[in-house]
């Protein structure tokens, strides 16, 4: 296990490195010039050149890449061109905002999704099952931004229960987490249900029932554990999607998180910001996949990590 972990972590290095190369190339080769945005419409060419030089953007691309890489290894993510602040400082402020939303939405999705999936499967064909599955169908079909707008109109504007936008505390978190977690909960519910139905039909469940175990023990201890494998895969893959969802939710609910930071960075061709954000994303997605793989072992002893 330890050898496997070390190897996996070492393997992450080329992956992350590859991501930085691709990101660096794409953003630098895309049309758009951060200096033009920085100096504005009216600056004379001398000033344009001076600013370009000051940010090191007149150097060859390869030199710029290696200096970026060198700085990252020293723990320096550079300065934001547009916001004139260290990228690390911007990230440190934005990451918790997104993480909070991601964790809340994911928590909601997993609890609601798994519980309703299990209940649905255990009572397959019943009215409960049908209501749950209609709900799940709605959840998968309704776009998050629309649900977000609807929640704002209903909960904030009409009922005055929660503030429409902003950040800082639970009251700002509930609506975006709901809007974002709904689709994920639906997907998790559907996956859990079908996976459970498959497991319930297997021999070892019949054996467990034959031993005289209560239905609760059969479902939650024997069946669920096995049924969770595809759910864990789904959750692992979902993390990347979650950041994408956060981008939209942060726009709708005006949350100053990573998504907003990245969009702003991309639109203003703020290279250091985009590179910093994507570096963080690459590392975290790689880590989440590793965690999902480790989770398999605990769920299914037949899987061995070597």
């Amino acid at each position: 296990m330890r050898a496997y972990l070390i190897r996996r972590i070492l393997l992450m290095v080329p992956v992350v490195l590859g991501v930085t190369v691709v990101v660096f190339l794409i953003i630098h080769l895309a049309p758009g010039d951060p200096v033009l945005l920085l100096v504005g419409e009216r600056a004379p060419p001398e000033i344009y050149e001076r600013v370009k030089h000051a940010w090191g953007l007149d150097r060859p691309l390869l030199t710029q890449y290696f200096s970026f890489l060198g700085n990252v290894l020293k723990g320096d993510l550079g300065m934001s061109i547009q916001m004139r602040r260290p990228v690390a400082e911007l990230l440190a402020r934005a990451i918790p905002v997104t993480l909070e939303l991601g964790v809340a939405a994911m928590g909601l999705a997993v609890t609601v999704g798994v519980v309703s999936g299990v209940v649905s499967a255990a009572r397959a064909g019943s009215a409960t099952d049908q209501v749950t599955m209609v709900g799940a169908l709605l959840g998968v079909s309704v776009p998050g931004f629309w649900l977000g707008q609807l929640l704002i109109l209903l909960v904030a504007v009409e009922l005055h229960w929660l503030p429409p936008s902003g950040y800082g505390g639970l009251k700002y978190l509930i609506m975006p987490a709901l809007a974002m977690g709904f689709a994920d909960a639906a997907l998790t519910a559907r996956t859990t249900r079908s996976s459970m139905l498959e497991v319930i039909r297997q021999d070892f469940i019949r054996t467990a029932r034959a031993k005289g175990l209560t239905e609760r023990v059969v479902i939650y201890r024997h069946a669920l554990r096995n049924a969770l494998l595809p759910v864990v895969t789904l959750i692992g893959l979902d993390l990347g999607y979650l950041i994408g969802g956060a981008v939209i939710m942060e726009e709708v609910f005006g949350r100053p998180g990573m998504g907003r930071l990245m969009i702003h960075g991309i639109l203003s061709r703020d290279y250091p910001v985009v590179q910093g954000c994507l570096l963080f994303l690459a590392v975290s997605v790689a880590l989440c996949n590793l965690l999902a793989d480790i989770a398999y072992v605990f769920l299914d002893p037949r899987i061995r990590l070597q």
Binding site: E41, R42, R84, P163, S165
Partner: protein
């Protein structure tokens, strides 16, 4: 599926869906209630929140290319009153020598910086010296190159020496991009210091101090308790009534409206025209419409075939139905444009005879230019909703005279790059500026390729601009600019389309003392007070 076999279930589902639909509809149609009578006497305290889609890029005036809120932190030598006339701010009075080459400004006594140190003429001198120092690479240095040298005979007097008369001097000293920062603070925390100037530290003489700025979230200003020198045109010349002012950044327009509806935001600037009806229906909200200082126009790469032919440009000009455009794209919340400068600028010139809608005349010109069957061209635009819709509305109008266009969209950064690289043919642009010198920025030959995106390099234009910018009196300057505009219209360098409108929504049940400022851009803070504190 057994889903829809269950009738009760089917009813529930259909019922839920219809309820959702009805709810969605009804939110958009809430009735308007009259604002209740409140106490009309200003009172101290409370927190004012305003909603914006975009935040300032910095509070460092040297580097600022997009500012908002700087007029609260800093002050300039002069400012504008409710009639947009130049009035004193940091300077109380001024005079010039008859040749217009020496200007003496008498500064207000007793003015203090936010850090408590007195404001002196030496600060002003140093501030401009740093601005004009090439090492600073100030984005706004161009505005101040008319300063040849400065004298400070005493702490309250600053003398500017110029090489030639500069009638636009007050245009510069009254602009918030020309506000004055504390040079000591800049030296200490500026680019050579800890680099926190402009993001965390901003020292001015204004009525508000920068308290906190969370990028992408909000900028919070607090009252400057020592402020005593409010401009003449406001009632309250002392510290502002409110405790804090927050600029909240909310990118989504619908969410901004929701914040206004809940009262969390009390003033919403730049309401998009498509949301006007919804805002006007919100109870206790008053909506102010002001002609903004700006122009949306269609421009040409004037050095490229077929747009190097003035007849083709004139034909395009005649093919556009501006009134229809204003009605359909802007719901009437804009003005059709018949000139190159917003009507409120003193140099403005409108020509409804030359810039008109006349398809027959346009077709005739196309034939004369040698394009009886028209031609194909790209119509480029930035991906702003309004601009894309204008482009879509113009497309069939141009097709009517044989010009088949393909609309290409770019984001802001990509668009500027595209224009600088000279890839444009027909393209949409909009400027927001209150001064005739905008024509210098875009149409002076030195400015090609960027920002001279029309690629207009023309000796007569240069001569007229030079004459205007060095005229002795503002009247003479205006006269020269009118002459220039007549020439530009004759050459059809641009096709002016619309003058935008600034729409500001105010919760009059929560905020007292609001009065719209000409152009709609700035919210004058001095007389604003909170009727009820929201937080």
């Amino acid at each position: 599926m057994s889903l829809f076999r269950n009738r009760r279930l089917r009813l529930i589902v259909v019922g839920l869906l219809s309820a959702l639909f009805v709810l969605t509809l009804s939110f958009g149609c809430a009735g308007k209630q009259a604002a209740g009578p409140g106490s009309e006497k200003p009172k101290k305290g409370g927190n004012l929140t305003m909603g914006f889609d975009r935040e300032t890029d910095t509070f460092d005036i040297y580097q600022m290319t997009w500012g908002s809120g700087q007029e609260y932190v800093y002050e300039s030598l002069t400012t504008r009153d409710w009639d947009y006339k130049v009035v004193g701010s940091l300077a109380e009075s001024w005079e010039s020598t008859p040749d217009g080459k020496t200007w003496t400004f008498h500064l207000r006594k007793g003015t203090k910086w936010h850090d408590g140190t007195p404001f002196t003429s030496k600060d002003v001198k140093r501030y401009y010296e740093v601005m004009l120092d090439p090492k600073t690479a100030a984005a706004n240095a161009l505005d101040w190159t008319w300063i040849k040298s400065m004298d400070t005979p005493d702490d309250n007097t600053i003398v500017f020496h110029l090489d030639s008369p500069f009638p636009n001097l007050f245009g510069k000293t009254s602009n918030s991009y020309g506000s004055i920062m504390n040079p000591d603070a800049y030296a200490k925390y500026g680019p050579d210091g800890t680099k926190e100037y402009g993001t965390k530290i901003a020292i001015g003489t204004g009525p508000l101090k920068l308290k906190e700025w969370i990028p992408g979230d909000k900028v919070v200003f607090e009252r400057n308790p020592d402020y005593r020198w409010g401009p003449l045109f406001v009632a309250n010349k002392g510290p502002v009534w409110v405790d804090t002012v927050t600029f909240k950044t909310i990118p989504d327009a619908a969410t901004r409206l929701a914040e206004l509806e809940t009262g969390n935001v009390q003033i919403l600037a730049n309401v998009p025209v498509e949301h006007y009806d919804r805002v006007a229906k919100i109870p206790n909200v008053e909506v102010f419409k002001e002609p903004a200082f700006g122009l949306g126009y269609l421009a040409f790469a004037t050095d490229k075939k077929p747009f190097n032919d003035p007849k083709v440009r004139q034909a395009v000009n005649l093919a556009v139905d501006r009134e229809a455009l204003v009605k359909s794209v802007f719901f009437g919340l804009a003005q059709a444009a018949y000139g190159y400068l917003p009507p409120r600028t003193p140099e403005a010139y409108q020509d409804t005879a030359a810039i008109r809608y006349d398809v027959a005349a346009a077709k005739k010109l196309m034939t004369e230019a040698g394009y009886p069957n028209g031609f194909k061209a790209t119509l480029a635009t930035q991906n702003r909703t309004e601009h894309v819709r204008v482009a879509q509305a113009i497309q069939p109008m141009l097709e009517a005279i044989g010009i088949k266009t393909e609309i290409v969209q770019y984001d802001e950064a990509g668009y500027k790059d595209f224009l600088k690289a000279g890839k444009q043919e027909l393209f949409m642009r909009q400027y927001e500026w209150d001064n005739a010198d905008i024509l210098q920025w875009f149409l002076y030959s030195r400015q090609v390729p960027y920002p001279g995106h029309s690629r207009w390099a023309d000796r007569k234009t240069d001569e007229l601009i030079d004459a205007a910018e060095s005229a002795i009196t503002p009247e003479l300057r205006a006269q020269k600019y009118v002459e220039l505009q007549k020439y530009l219209i004759e050459q059809s360098v641009w096709s002016p389309l619309w003058y935008p409108m600034a729409i500001t929504a105010v919760r009059t049940d929560l905020v007292g003392g609001f009065k719209p400022f000409p152009g709609g851009g700035n919210v004058v803070i001095f007389d604003l007070w909170m009727k009820k504190n929201v937080k």
